[in-house]
């Protein structure tokens, strides 16, 4: 089902991964800023928890990136084989997220988490076979 050339295929796959990483890191940063949703829901109820999330500008920026990633994925899936597009973009997203989480979110990405990212990345790529 591949309708486009190699360059366009990988450009769209990298675009899916890049926007997904930006979306994930921004929403994760926003959720850390907002705090435990279970605690907020216990105090302010579900509407209060939803309000706390959707009124956060970093979260909204993250959602914008996720929406861009979603539409890029839809576009990619209609032009590139699912067996290539899904695992390739997912693998790139996993590695990109581990790097971005360490740099921007200052997460403790220790040896265990690097190994996890590598194993998951390789595992997802192998699932395409």
């Amino acid at each position: 089902m591949t309708y486009v050339g190699t360059i366009e295929t990988w450009t769209t796959i990298i675009a899916v991964a890049g926007t997904a990483v930006a979306g994930d890191v921004l929403t994760a940063g926003a959720m850390r800023q907002i705090g435990d949703l279970d605690d907020i829901r216990a105090v302010a109820g579900l509407p209060g928890a939803i309000k706390a999330v959707v009124s956060n500008p970093i979260f909204l920026l993250g959602v914008l990136c996720m929406a861009a990633s979603f539409f890029t994925l839809l576009f990619t899936l209609s032009n590139v084989d699912l067996s290539l597009a899904a695992p390739a973009s997912a693998s790139l997203t996993f590695m990109g997220n581990a790097i971005a989480a360490k740099i921007f979110l200052k997460e403790n990405v220790d040896q265990r988490r690097w190994l996890a990212a590598l194993f998951v990345c390789a595992g997802v790529a192998l699932l395409a076979h």
Partner: protein, 146 residues
Amino acid sequence: MKHTLKPAQYLILLAVMLTASVGDTLLSHGMAQVGPVSLQHLGMLFSAMKNLWVVAGILCLLGFFASYLTALSWADLTFVLPSTAFGYVVVALLSRFWLHEEISIYRWLGIILIVCGVGFVANGPSRTEHAQHPGPSVGQELDPLA
């Protein structure tokens, strides 16, 4: 301090695993029906919203998003993400034992790698502690200018 999860929080992670993979599968099925979308006809992406499979996929992914955000509010991104990959394993196992599809040696190897990857992070702390007020001991001892 090691962060361990409550049973309800493991249920949220289970929802993250299942809804993501099922949603992606529904979307993929729907987009195969919609057909190829070209750069000149990007408006077709909006008409894809009329496809029931695409709508069902989006609803599933909304459920994923809600559980994913909840998980991110009490766990690190690098802790939550491997669990989303575990969804691929669920789909592969369902297709093998329910749909009786053949799974190649490469896919079994991929499944083993993902299970190991998820196991690595599941055994570790779920959240990085960021000190609000850095203590006087460690940081100053390491600072050559102090």
